[in-house]
Every structure is written in structure tokens, then in C-alpha cells.
Symmetry: none
Subunit: 164 residues, 4 copies
DNA sequence: TATGAATGAGGATTCATTCAT
DNA sequence: TATGAATGAATCCTCATTCAT
């Protein structure tokens, strides 16, 4: 991902790119940021219709949303994961990640169909696992994505995490 | 990770580095390779004492081994995960990964305390999740590593995956 | 000839050099190419006024042109001869050389004041000899260049080659 | 031509190479030197039997010797010409070259079947032309070497140079 | 405001040379 | 004396960033 290539693909000049982003890193962060924000939005939307759902249904809905978010643009995702770590622990990214985490913790704290101890830990584990699996499936197990067992088993394991 | 910095850190000259590794990439791969090989060895060793263990004990032992392997050198691990993806799908690495996968699938197929359908998928999911969580914990949740709940919950979730 | 030195001498940065030439080799080839193309042009121009010339006059004119072409920038020439051989048998260079050879053979074939057998061989010999002598004189016999006998004798020998 | 490769080919270690030659350049010069010395020896031997030869016979013998010297190890020659110029105007090489030149000039000065004016220039021209042609033929006109016309014509041209 | 040529620091790699064994 | 591992200066090339037009 060179700035020249990005500019070409975007149909603008490098100079113009630098009008919108101060550095190359900022471009990367912007894309990662967008993905995380989308995820946050999807989660928030799902949580809104949560009161009418069982924990099972809710978990499954969230897992499905995560997988879909990753499957939308596999190539982008792969690239992102390759490049973004080098960006380091960038404040903005961490903030969005933290918000997503807080959103879920806060919501789950209102439910009485699961224990509330270790909630922060459990949510961290669930997010990490779902993200890693969705990513791994997209990147090198395309067939898993098409297998309904993948989603079911992932949701089951997450439920187990939540229920303690 | 520049070749110069590696040489400095290793206490040798760049030239010497190139006496042992043909390219910078080869250095990276060598480290990743070593980690994977160690993991395979740990898993193999654990499986040997498996006949006398319940599935619970076994799972927990494997999860603990994985976490320890990651905790040995956190900084190394962080760097590795940042750089290795860029190395691309390298045959030797994939081979070792595949061997580890096969080792576990073959072993679990001999046990009658868990269902045998979807075994390949389930092992893939378990490896990916454990690896991602051990890595994430090491990299940005040091406190999770010290919390015994982390290991317990991870083992529980994996068990759930295995038991179907 | 390092890229850095070339850039300095050219009054630009290394980066700019690489905007115009894909590799260091390409820079070398470009200069060699230019020289050969100039030679071809000089020869072509000389041949145009040839019908009114005797073979003696023509030969002398060509020999003089070759010497002048080499004397224009002796330092450049020396460098070129030192570096270009390492460049290897480069298609574009060989093409231009072949064109120059063909131009002369074709022209001489129209004249009836010299035998036509062995024309290709003879032209190859003449070009090689004139080039080598002009180069050697420029590089380490500056006094020869000023001696009119040099040109006369060279032209005589070439004539002998042509007349058989 | 790296020192390592030279050492391998020679069946010794780099270290040993440096026991015999102070620098890489010295190795190159030694080879060039050997070639020039051989040439000088051949010329000297030919000149010894010269009193009984006509200028025609003598010239032809020398031209043939030069061609043979080049044809002995074409690859070596090509390499030598590629590398040696970079060595610069090295005293030892120039000395041997000068000796060869002097040998011929001195000899020709004793003959009365050719003019003695411009002898130094003429010998310089003859050596340069014969060397360049033998080299060019070896390097990229293998067929010329087999064509008897090549030798004949070259000898004729050289004779013309000598006879003025 | 948009462009893209120019910049040059930075990085991977090579290879002549040294020197401890 | 012979070896070849170690050294690190030197070199080619890339690419994020700037800025004159």
C-alpha cells in the first residue's frame, strides 16, 4: 500500500490525498476506524431490538453481524490486519474499540439471564475470539464461512463464555 | 525490524546475519517457525499424558500451555504478529500449522468422550481462538493473564466447542 | 559511477533519476544509446552527400566523423567503455549497432568502386577498428588526435579493407 | 568475479588468496599481465625467425598469433576486458604494454622494407586494431574466426598501415 | 484547490578484507 | 600456513512527504 497506489486507485493525485490525511498512517487508521464504527453501529442496532430476544438469539445475531462485516471486503480486511498493527496503539482506534467494549458490557449488565461477574473480561474475550475467527475464516477458510456449523458453534462457544 | 537493528540487538554485524539467513524475511520466518514448532512439541507432549486425563483436564492443559508459550516473550510475539502476515502464505509455516492441526484432529478422533463430526472445523476454531486470545491478552490485557478466570473461561469455551 | 554521484553531477536527487530511468543500468544504456544514435545520424548524413564523392573522400569523411564523435567528451567515453560491457548484450544497443552496420553495408553494396564479396565482414572490421582506434587515441594518445597522420593512415587502412 | 568465487574455483580459501595477492585488483592485474607477457613472448619468438620472412609473412604470422591468443580462452578475455579498465591505468600493465610496443618499433626500425617515419604511431595503431578485432571476433563474431578472409584482410590492412 | 515532480532519508543486500583459530 | 566467519562500508533502490505551478 503505497501512497501513489492509493492515489491512483482513488483517482486523485498524491497531493490531494495529503489534503485529507496528514500521513499515510492516518489513511490506514481512517479505514480501520470506519470498520470499527460500522461494527459499533451494527452492534448498537442489534442491541436496540434485544429486549425481545433471548440471549441465544442475541448472541447469534451479533456473531452473524460480525462475520458479515468481515466478509464484505475480504481483501481489505486482510490488508488492514497486515498493516494496522504497525500503526501501533493509536489512540483513536483504541477509543472506538473501547466504546464498542463499553457498549456491550453496559448492555449485558442490564440483562439478568447471565452472571455479571467478570463481565469486562468476558466481553473482551468474546470480541477478540469472534473477530479472530471471522478474520481467519475469511482469510484462509472460505469454506467455513459457507458451513452453517461455523456460525452455530461460534455462537455456542460465545454463549458459554457469557453464561460462565 | 530493520536488519541493522536486528544485527545490533543480536550483537553481530549485518553481514553475519546474512551468513545465516538469505533474506530479512527468512529471519522472520525462522522465528515464527520456531514458535510454531515449540507449540507443536508442547501439544504433542501434553497429548502423550492424555490417556489418563479427562477431556476437561486435557483442554485446560493445552490452553495453559498455549498461554505460557505466548507469555514467554511478549515483545517478540507482538512483533511477530505485526510482521509475519506481510511475509505472506509461506509454505514452511503453513506446513507446521497444518501439522499441528492434524495432530490434534487425529488425537481427538481417538477419544470417545466427544462427537467426531466437524472435528476439523472445530479444531481450526479452537486453535484460532486460543491463539488470538493468548496473543491479545499478552499484548494488551496483561491483567487478564494473571486472572485465573481467564484461563478457566477460555478452557470452558473450548470445551463447549469440542463437545458440540 | 554510483547513482548518488550521477545525481549530484546532474544536479538532481537520486529519486529524480529513478523517475526517468528504471535502473542504474538503464542510465548507462541511455548514454551509450545516444552515442550510437548520433553516430548513425552522422553516418547517414555523410552517406547522403556520398554520390558526389570518391570512395577515398567518403572513407575519410566517415573516419573523421567517428574521431570527432569520440573526442567530444573523452571522459564520458572512457567511462562508457568501462561500464557498458558489464551491462551485457543489451537488445536495444545491439539493435542500434546492427542498424549502423546494415546502413553501411547497404550503401556500399550500391557502389561499384569496390568489391561486394565479404561486405558484411569488412564493414564489421572497419567499424570495430575505427571505433577502437578513436577510443584508444582519445583515452591514452591525445597527441595522436592532433597528428594528421593518424586520420590519414586510419582512412588508408580502412580503404584497403574496403577495396579488398 | 568475487573473491569468494575465485577462491572456490581455485580450490583454496579466500584467506589463502590474500596470501598471494594483496587485493582483488592485484588478481585481475596478474591475469592481464600474464596475457600481455604471453603476447610479448609470442611476438619476440616470431621476430626471431623474422630475418628469413618477407614483411607480408611476418605480419600475417603476428596477426595469426594475436588471434590465437584471444581464442584460447574467450570467456576469460571477455571478463578481463570488462573488469580491467576499472583497474585504471595501472603502472605494471602499462609497462608491459609499452615493452611490447617498443619491441615492435625497435624491430621494424631495422627493416628497410617499410618507411620509418611515424613508426611509433603506426605500431600503436596496429596493436590497437589487431587487439580490438581479435577481441570483437572472439566475443561476438565467432563465425569470423573461422573465415580465412578475416585473417587475410586484417593482415592486409595492417600491412597497409606499415607500408604507409 | 489539485497536481505530480522532486526530494532524500532509510533500508536491504553484497562483498572485499581481516584475523582468531 | 590455511581457513572461512565476521565485519561494515558502500551501493542500489523505494516511497512518504513537500511545494512550486
Amino acid at each position: 500500500m503505497t501512497t501513489k497506489r492509493v492515489a491512483e486507485r482513488a483517482g486523485v493525485s498524491v497531493g490531494s490525498l495529503y489534503q485529507y490525511f496528514p500521513t499515510r498512517e492516518a489513511m490506514l487508521v481512517a479505514v480501520a476506524e470506519r470498520h470499527l464504527t460500522e461494527m459499533k453501529a451494527v452492534v448498537a442496532r442489534t442491541l436496540e431490538s434485544a429486549p425481545t430476544m433471548t440471549l441465544d438469539e442475541l448472541t447469534r445475531a451479533l456473531v452473524r453481524a460480525a462475520i458479515e462485516a468481515h466478509a464484505t471486503d475480504p481483501a481489505l480486511h486482510r490488508r488492514l490486519m497486515e498493516e494496522v498493527p504497525r500503526v501501533g496503539r493509536l489512540a483513536m482506534l483504541d477509543d472506538t474499540r473501547t466504546e464498542l467494549h463499553a457498549l456491550l458490557v453496559a448492555f449485558l449488565a442490564t440483562r439478568d439471564d447471565l452472571p455479571h461477574d467478570h463481565l469486562a473480561l468476558v466481553v473482551f474475550m468474546a470480541i477478540t475470539a469472534v473477530d479472530a475467527l471471522a478474520h481467519a475464516a475469511v482469510v484462509d477458510r472460505a469454506e467455513a464461512l459457507r458451513d452453517p456449523a461455523f456460525e452455530t458453534k461460534l455462537a455456542d462457544a460465545v454463549l458459554r463464555l457469557l453464561r460462565g
